[in-house]
């Protein structure tokens, strides 16, 4: 209608009058993997990205208020001949304040699927729990576990709807399904990559350095455990925003096992004593 166009309202108000009946019968439902979860309501007429930009990007903020979206973490995962190794640190920070040293950055979705978290803790925990819910529903509906590629696709589709609205999430979905070991990187822009080795977070460059110099596809299991642990440890040693303990998981054909949870202080003494 002309008046609606002039006011600019018709951009975000859907003219449903004529189609209302059709909508109720043909509504998008979970059957077609509805990506638009109705859980987060975004106010009409406000563009969240524009609203947030002065608060986050500019030096002075708005009226002296600046939202500090800092996220410190190191997480890594790599595929090798015996499955997938997953290792994460456990420090949660808010700016330069360490909130906790014992944060669980790996979510156990089911015995054959793990998700790591880096970025904003709240975003990661929330969205990965929604993913876990979707995976459970998939298993009930289809009587078989969801594949790793489908699970990562669901997560990517969920967050892409909130692109530009300030989500901060870098996650790796690791699992073992009918096609073998699977490893996908998914981030808050909806980017989804399949790969053999990923590391995310503020300490990822340090972890990549150690991983790349020691990685071979045909590592033995103890060698892989050692490499993953070392990579996280060295990242926590140099990156101020990573630390706490190194939590390590091994994804095998029979499911994942939690390999170890070691404090980085103890690891420091172990590694540096080796040199002597």
């Amino acid at each position: 209608m002309a008046l609606l166009d002039v006011c600019g309202i018709s951009d975000w108000v859907k003219e449903d009058g004529f189609n209302a009946e059709r909508a109720s019968v043909d509504k998008v439902n979970h059957f077609n993997f509805a990506a638009q979860t109705p859980e987060l309501a975004v106010p009409v007429g406000v563009d969240p990205a524009e609203f947030l930009r002065p608060l986050v990007d500019s030096e002075e903020g708005v009226d002296g208020v600046k939202i500090n979206l800092e996220h410190g973490t190191t997480t890594l995962a790599f595929k090798f001949q015996h499955g997938v190794m997953v290792a994460v640190d456990s420090r949660a920070s808010a700016g330069s304040y360490v909130s906790t040293q014992m944060f669980k950055k790996v979510i156990e979705i089911n015995p054959f699927l793990l998700g790591t978290m880096s970025g904003s803790a709240a975003d990661c925990v929330y969205w990965e729990r929604v993913l876990a819910k979707e995976c459970r529903i998939y298993k009930l509906r289809n009587k078989e576990r969801i594949s790793v590629s489908a699970a990562s696709k669901l997560l990517a589709n969920m967050v892409v709807n909130y692109r530009g609205m300030g989500l901060s999430m870098g996650t790796m979905i690791c699992g073992w399904d009918k096609k073998g070991p699977g490893l996908y990187y998914v981030d808050d822009n909806g980017l989804r990559l399949c790969g053999n080795m990923f590391s995310t977070g503020s300490g990822n460059t340090y972890a990549y350095g150690v991983m790349d110099s020691g990685y071979r596809y045909d590592l033995s299991v103890p060698e892989a455990y050692d490499l993953a642990q070392r990579a996280i440890f060295h990242a926590t040693h140099r990156d101020a925003y990573s630390g706490g303990t190194v939590n390590m998981y091994h994804m095998r054909e029979t499911g994942w096992i939690k390999v170890s949870q070691e404090d980085v202080g103890d690891l420091y003494h172990r590694f540096f004593n080796e040199k002597k």
């Binding site: 109720s24 019968v25 594949s147 489908a150 696709k153 589709n157």
Partner: protein, 241 residues
């Protein structure tokens, strides 16, 4: 007082019937016969071709539609309703491939079609779809399947089944002659043709047949191939009598 309970679809009758759904099933019984057989390595769908007018191009009447590379279906009932269902199912197959990165299983797409049909039995101002369908195909892991859906939105897996006009006769024939896990593709195809010949007038030229072998795409048999099978069947019958 049946009259007052069959106007609106959303009203149950005192004895628990949804009359509109029952009437939809009557519409299905008026449609031309379709038969489906599941063998070990091949799945077959056959339909009775309607006699077309002299000036009509008979290639435009297609009762067997492929939904994806690994699934295809035949229906009995209102052709226009079937077009809608087939369209939605095709979109859903691609949507599944996009989201899950794997082809949809036959059961998944059957469940989707059934849920559409059920939604239209529970909604104001709409009538149920007047079709039953036979959905066949192979899953990603190679298992063959045959499912039948009906206007009420229920679905069942079958080894062999028939829908449409004279479905009962055809099903009885199938029950007598079906053998478990037929290894030979030819036997499976012959069974479908023999079942259709029971009810189709004037033999092979009124039969349309589609087969799918594991890891291959759907193949519509040409008229000559069908005639070959029919001749082979006739010779076997002669030998027996």
């Amino acid at each position: 007082m049946a009259m007052s309970y069959d106007r609106a679809i959303t009203v149950f009758s005192p004895d628990g019937h949804l009359f509109q759904v029952d009437y939809a099933q009557e519409a299905v019984k008026k449609g031309s016969t379709a038969v489906g057989v599941r063998g070990k390595n091949v799945v077959v769908l056959g339909v009775e071709k309607k006699i077309v007018a002299k000036l009509q191009e008979d290639r435009t009447v297609r009762k067997i539609c492929s939904l994806d590379d690994n699934v295809f279906m035949a229906f009995a009932g209102l052709t226009a309703d079937a077009r809608i269902i087939v369209n939605r199912a095709r979109v859903e197959c691609q949507s599944h491939r996009l989201t899950v990165e794997d082809p949809a299983t036959v059961e998944y797409i059957t469940r989707y079609i059934s849920s559409i049909k059920q939604r239209y039995t529970q909604s104001n101002g709409r009538r149920p779809f007047g079709i039953s369908s036979l959905i066949v195909g192979f899953d990603f892991d190679g298992t063959p399947h045959l499912y039948q859906t009906d206007p009420s939105g229920t679905y069942h897996a079958w080894k062999a089944n028939a829908i449409g006009r004279s479905a009962k006769t055809v099903r009885e024939f199938l029950e007598k002659n079906y053998k478990e896990d037929m290894e030979s593709d030819t036997d499976t195809i012959k069974l479908a043709i023999r079942a259709l010949l029971e009810v189709v007038q004037s033999g092979g030229k009124n039969i349309e047949l589609a087969i799918m072998k594991r890891d291959e795409s759907m193949k519509m048999l040409a008229q000559e191939e069908i005639e070959e099978y029919v001749t082979a069947i006739e010779t076997e019958k002669q030998k027996k009598t």
